[in-house]
Amino acid sequence: MQPSSREMQGMAGSMNGGISHSVAVAQIALRELQNGHGGRQIPNSGPQASFDDGASGHDDFLDQMLSSLPSSWAELGNLKNPWDPPEAGQRIFGAGLAGETSPEEPSAAAAEGMRYPPYDESSLLANRLRQHQISGGSSPNGKAMMVHLDHQSQQQMLLPSLGRSPVASGDSGLLSLPLTLGTGGYDVDAPFKSLNPTGGEGLFNGLGGPLHRAQSAFGHPQGGASMPSQNFTAAAATGGVGQAASASASASASASAGGGTGPPRQKVRARRGQATDPHSIAERLRRERIADRMKALQELVPNANKTDKASMLDEIIDYVKFLQLQVKVLSMSRLGGAAAVAPLVADMSSEGQSGAGSGGANSSGDTLTVTEHQVAKLMEEDMGSAMQYLQGKGLCLMPISLASAISTATACPPRPLSSSSLSSAGACHLGHGILPGGPHLPSPSGDAPASPGVSALTAQSAMANGAAEAAKEAVTVSKA
C-alpha cells in the first residue's frame, strides 16, 4: 500500500487533461487485463458481495485491488503509453479510493480537485474486468459481442443483460456509463435515436482497437454471460472512450449531461480534467448534432448543395417562405370555390343554367365580350361560379399558350367550322383564352378567319358538328 500511495501523491501534478486521463485509465484497465494477472486470484464472492452492497462495498473490493496492484505495475511499465501509465493506473485507484473517501488518498484527491463518481465506475469496471479475467475462462464471445456492437444492438444488449444480472447497484453504476456512451449526445430524446449518432459512431470506431486486445483477456465466469457481457460492453465502451477523443468527449459530455439513466440515480459529473474540456466536449457534441440536422435539412430543401452553414440557413429560410406562399396562393385560388362547390354538386346544374340565363339577358350583341366581362366579374368573387357560368355558356377557360397550340393543331381542318382562334380582349389581361366548346352552343355568329396567333384573335363558336369536335377538344384540353 505504501509505495502505491506515495506514487499516487507524486502523480498529483503530472496529469494533463481529462481526455488523456480517461484514455490512460481505459488503456491501463485493458492492458492490465491483456497482460494478464494470471496468478492473481481475487475471490469472486467478495467483490460481488461488495457490489451487492453498493457503494459501501467498494472498500473491500478496492483493498483487494490495491493488493494486486504492485504485481501489475511491472507490466505497466512495458506499455508504450505516452501518458505515463503507472501513474495513470495508480490514479484510477487513487480516484476510486478518494471517491470512497478512503484515507489513503486524500491528498491526491484534494490536489486534483476532482469529482469521482465516474472514477468509481471506471475503477469498478477495471476491477470487475480483472476479476473475470482472473477467474479464468475463454473469451470466444468477446469477438461475437464486438461484432454485434452497433448503436441499437449495444443498447439492446446492455439492457437485457443488465436485466439478467443479479447484481443491482454496482451494475447500475456501470450501466449508466455505457448507456450514456451508447447514446452519446442523443440523451433523452427518443425521436432522435433513429438518426445515426456520430458520437456513437466515433465510439464504435474507437472500439475496434482495444477490443482486439481486450477480447483475449476477457474471461467469462460460470455465472453467466450477463455479467461479462456487461463488463465487456462497458469496458469496450471505456476502451473506445480511451481510444477515440470524440468518443470520450461524448462520454464525458453525456456523463455530465445525462445523469438520470440508471434507476439508482448516480450523480454523473464531468470527468476529471481541466476547464477547457467540458466546454470543448459539450461544444463538439452540440456541433455534431447541429451538423446532423443540417444534413437532414439539406436533403429536404431543393438546391441545397451549400456546405456553408449561413448559406444553408438562407436556403432553408427561402424554402420555408416559398412553401408558405404556395399554401397562401392555393388557399386563394379555386380551392375556395371548389371547396364550397364540392359538397353542393347537386346544385351545379341549376347554377349553370341560371348563369347562362343571366348572361343571355345581359348580352347586347357581342356575346363574347359580354361573356368575358361577366366572367371577369365572377372570377373576382368566386372562381367556381365563374367556371360554372362559362360552362353554362359552353365555354371553358384555358391558358393562352395551350389554346394557341390547339389552334395551330386545328388550323387546317377538313371542316371549316372547327377552326378556332383565340379570343383576346377579355382574355388578355386574364391570361386565359376562352375556347368555344361545351354542351350548350350559342347561336353561331358566323365563322371567323382562322388565323392562329398568340392572343389577338377573336373566337367564334362553331356549328353543331364542329362544336362537337371542338367540344371534345375543349374537354380534353380542360381535362389535361
Partner: protein, 201 residues
C-alpha cells in the same frame, strides 16, 4: 425525408371535415376573407394531424390570438385544443450540468480575450453574425421558434418543412380533384352525349 402516410391521411381527413363544416360560409365571403379562412382551416388541419410538436403548439397559439379563431379552433380540435394550448415542458433542452456550463463560459470568454489580442481578425465574428441573423429570421418563420435553441430550432424547422410540403401537395391534389369532379358532375347533369364522348376517349 417524407411525410408519413398516416400524417397525410389524417391531414386530409381533417381538411375535408373543416371544409364540410364551413362550406356554407364560403359563399358569402369575399376573396380575401375566403383566402384567410381556407388558410386557417388548412393550418389547423395540419397542426391537428401532426400532433404535439413545438411548432404545432406555436402555430395554434398564434392562431388563437384572435377570439373569433379561438372558437373555430376549439370546434375543430375538440379536446385536443386544451391539451395543445397548455404550456408544455419548455425544458426540452439538452440537460447540462450548471457547473460545466459556467466553467465553459468562463473559459470561452477567456479564450476569446486571448484570441482577440493577437489576431484582430473579424472574419469569424462576421460569419457568426451572419448565422445569427439568419437564425433569427428562421425563428420568426417557424411558428413557436422564438424560444428554441439552435438544435431544436433546426429540428422543428425540419419537421415544419416536411409538413408544409405535404400541406401544399395535398391542397394541390385536392384542387385538381375538385375541378375534375366538378367538370364531370357538370357533364353528367348537362350533356349525356358528352359523357359518351368521354367514354369514347
Amino acid at each position: 425525408m417524407q411525410a408519413t402516410k398516416s400524417f397525410e391521411r389524417a391531414f386530409l381527413r381533417q381538411l375535408l371535415r373543416v371544409f364540410r363544416l364551413s362550406a356554407v360560409s364560403y359563399k358569402s365571403m369575399s376573396l380575401q376573407e375566403r383566402k384567410s379562412a381556407i388558410k386557417l382551416s388548412a393550418d389547423v388541419a395540419m397542426a391537428s394531424a401532426r400532433g404535439s410538436r413545438k411548432w404545432t403548439r406555436g402555430l395554434i397559439a398564434k392562431l388563437s390570438e384572435e377570439d373569433e379563431h379561438r372558437s373555430f379552433l376549439r370546434l375543430i380540435l375538440g379536446t385536443e385544443y386544451e391539451r395543445l394550448t397548455k404550456p408544455c415542458h419548455g425544458s426540452w433542452k439538452i440537460p447540462r450540468s450548471k457547473k460545466i456550463v459556467r466553467r465553459s463560459l468562463r473559459v470561452c470568454s477567456r479564450r476569446k480575450n486571448n484570441l482577440r489580442a493577437p489576431h484582430g481578425v473579424k472574419s469569424s465574428v462576421l460569419a457568426r453574425t451572419l448565422v445569427e441573423k439568419r437564425t433569427h429570421a428562421l425563428k420568426r418563420l417557424v411558428p413557436g421558434g422564438e424560444s428554441l435553441d439552435g438544435y431544436s430550432l433546426l429540428d422543428e424547422a425540419l419537421d415544419y418543412v416536411i409538413s408544409l410540403r405535404a400541406q401544399a401537395d395535398l391542397m394541390q391534389k385536392l384542387l385538381t380533384t375538385f375541378e375534375a369532379s366538378k367538370l364531370s358532375a357538370l357533364s353528367k347533369c348537362t350533356l349525356p352525349e358528352r359523357k359518351a364522348s368521354f367514354v369514347g376517349k
